[in-house]
């Protein structure tokens, strides 16, 4: 049963990111995994091993696309060639939804290849929502935007990050990929209460949740996806699913990647929170 209009896939449960070091294990052992999230850009090519592996994965698993270069928050026009390549991949994977970040990263046709933070202004929200609508209309697939980790804030901001997220998704009428690790990282870097963020977003728009680890430095936290999930992030996750209901959940582990079993085991820790939620729901 759909949890909300943007979450028709409550049966997806827990997934992990499809990463090169795990290819052989997955293809030979065929482990039971709810679904795999792929980085779209790694497969937006015209041939070779990436697409061959993807096709083998698609024969056995459900795949959801996650992008890192759409840059919904950039102030220039969407790149048509990019969209065409992405649409070819969407048709190949049959992804039920497609996510990318609420950020910008290119200007005047030059790419930084980073997820740069938005100024939280109404002007930025309007431009961003328009680009999300255009992308959705072209790609013909539901779109979810993910909150990013950030290390800087702008003087010009007119609202909090979660108010900005609300403003964008309401204007664009799109879903949210809620990254609770990113909320935690940004809360430490900017000094806000992460629960205010989780409590402040429109739960009815959350289609997916990301969990991940990070690296702590003396004066800031960096979103490195190279550690297990820490307890405060699990607590945010627990609060998030209390608000959203059962939601497709994905563990990101992108650097210093351990064995498949270790990554999968870490992801499956989310089950205890989902089961607790199920029990609580059953009682009421």
């Amino acid at each position: 049963m759909p949890a909300n209009q943007f979450n028709n896939f409550t049966d997806y449960g827990i997934g992990i990111g499809l990463r090169v070091p795990h290819y052989d294990h997955i293809l030979s052992k065929k482990p039971a995994v709810g679904w795999f999230e792929i980085i779209s850009e790694n497969f937006m090519c015209d041939g070779g091993r990436p697409l061959k592996v993807l096709d083998q994965i698609l024969e056995q698993y459900r795949v959801v696309q996650h992008g890192v270069s759409m840059y919904f928050g950039s102030s220039e026009k969407l790149n048509r060639e990019h969209l065409k390549k992405l649409k070819r991949l969407v048709k190949r994977t049959n992804t039920p939804w497609l996510s990318d970040h609420l950020c910008w990263g290119s200007v005047d046709g030059r790419y930084t290849h980073d997820l740069l933070p938005m100024p939280y202004t109404f002007a930025a929200a309007k431009v961003t929502a328009q680009r999300i609508r255009e992308a959705r209309d072209f790609l013909e697939v539901p779109i979810c935007v993910e909150n990013v980790s950030s290390y800087a804030e702008f003087h010009v901001s007119e609202m909090t990050e979660w108010e900005f997220l609300n403003e964008v998704v309401e204007r664009a009428d799109c879903g949210i990929l809620l990254d609770v690790n990113n909320i935690y990282v940004s809360s430490k870097n900017h000094g806000f209460n992460p629960f205010d963020y989780v409590n402040g977003i429109p739960a009815q728009r959350v289609a997916q949740i990301h969990i991940a680890g990070h690296s702590k430095f003396e004066k800031y936290i960096l979103d490195t996806h190279d550690h297990p999930v820490i307890d405060p992030v699990w607590k945010l996750y627990e609060r998030a699913i209390q608000r959203t209901g059962k939601t497709a959940t994905l563990l990101e582990w992108d650097d210093r990647i351990p064995s498949f079993d270790e990554v999968h085991g870490e992801a499956l820790k989310a089950n205890q929170f989902l089961k607790r939620l199920e029990n609580e729901t059953a009682k009421t």
Binding site: N42, C45, G47, G109, L116, A124, F154, H155, Y220
Partner: protein, 305 residues
């Protein structure tokens, strides 16, 4: 109920802010990997940055933006290293980093994917060889080979022609197209052996993600000293999802290059005139085509009327 504040930033100001921040993020770092203290116009960077980035209780505006400036270069360098380990090995880390910085200052990335980062590197080295001096020719050879490797890795493979498809056709009227993943190279050094040995001793390219990079040091190699100077003809291609460097005879290279440039089969074969080819020329060419067709190198056929 609290009403939203009226809009203050305009769309034009939003665009201007992104241009300003992108300029700061993509500016080269100092030799100590810090953000430059002077802005483009010579004024203090911190004064410029203070105008748009908020400080917090631990970091100044300058330090907060510096995180992005450093991450940009870390990511770019890492990607460059993964795509050009051979070039890095002959130049050394420092020189390689300076080359990457100068190249990107001239040719910033214009693609959504880091895969295309090196697409204009050969052109840049030809334009500004001082960044690879005194290794210009070796650097050019490696830049060509490593870019060809990238192209071979994931370019399209079209349905291959079989040798039978050519039987009975008029060589004066047919043009054969080579696979998009195949690159023909004439090199001055035996960089293929060098690169194979180097990769055997190290890891493979990684993939894109949205995570921040942490600094990595690369092992220097002594293999560069053993790089041999010798004219070398190569076909860089993909076969059964693996990239291969196939050495070619001068005649094979000349014939294939002519076909790739759109010559008819007859004219391409005529390119062999003047070359010393042992044995029966017709039988030799037949043998070559059998081998190339088995590798799936030909993907389409055009016939003139």
């Amino acid at each position: 109920m609290k009403l939203p504040k009226p809009s203050r930033q305009t769309a034009g100001e939003f665009y201007a802010l992104q241009r300003l921040m992108a300029a700061a993020v993509m500016r080269p770092l100092t030799r100590g990997d810090k953000m430059q203290v002077k802005w483009i116009d010579g004024s203090p960077t911190k004064v410029v940055v203070n105008q748009f980035i908020k400080p917090n209780d631990r970091l100044t505006s300058f330090e907060r933006l510096e995180i992005y400036n450093r991450q940009y270069w870390l990511r770019i360098r890492q990607s460059f290293y993964e795509d050009y380990p051979g070039l890095c090995a002959i130049l050394g880390d420092k020189k390689f980093e300076r080359l990457a910085g100068a190249y990107l200052a001239n040719y910033p990335s214009q693609s959504f994917t880091l895969r295309n980062l090196g697409s204009r590197l050969v052109k840049f080295i030809q334009e500004e060889p001082r960044w690879v001096s005194p290794h210009k020719q070796r650097a050019l050879d490696l830049a060509r080979l490593e870019w060809a490797h990238t192209e071979a890795f994931d370019n399209e493979a079209r349905s291959p022609l079989k040798l039978d498809d050519l039987a009975g056709l008029d060589a004066a009227k047919i043009r054969l197209q080579l696979q998009p993943h195949l690159t023909l190279l004439k090199l001055d050094n035996e960089v293929d052996d060098f690169l194979i040995e180097l990769k055997r001793k190290s890891g493979l390219r990684s993939e894109a993600s949205n995570a921040m990079e942490q600094n990595r040091r690369h092992k220097k190699t002594r293999l560069a000293g053993r790089l041999k100077r010798k004219t070398n003809f190569l076909a860089v291609h993909r076969y059964q999802d693996l990239v291969y460097y196939k050495r070619l005879d001068p005649g094979q290279f000349r014939l294939l290059t002519a076909l790739q440039n759109g010559a008819t089969l007859e004219k391409a074969c005529a390119e062999l005139a003047g070359l010393k080819i042992s044995g029966d020329l017709g039988a030799t060419i037949q043998q070559w085509f059998t081998s190339w067709a088995a590798l799936g190198w030909f993907c389409s056929l055009k016939q003139s009327k």
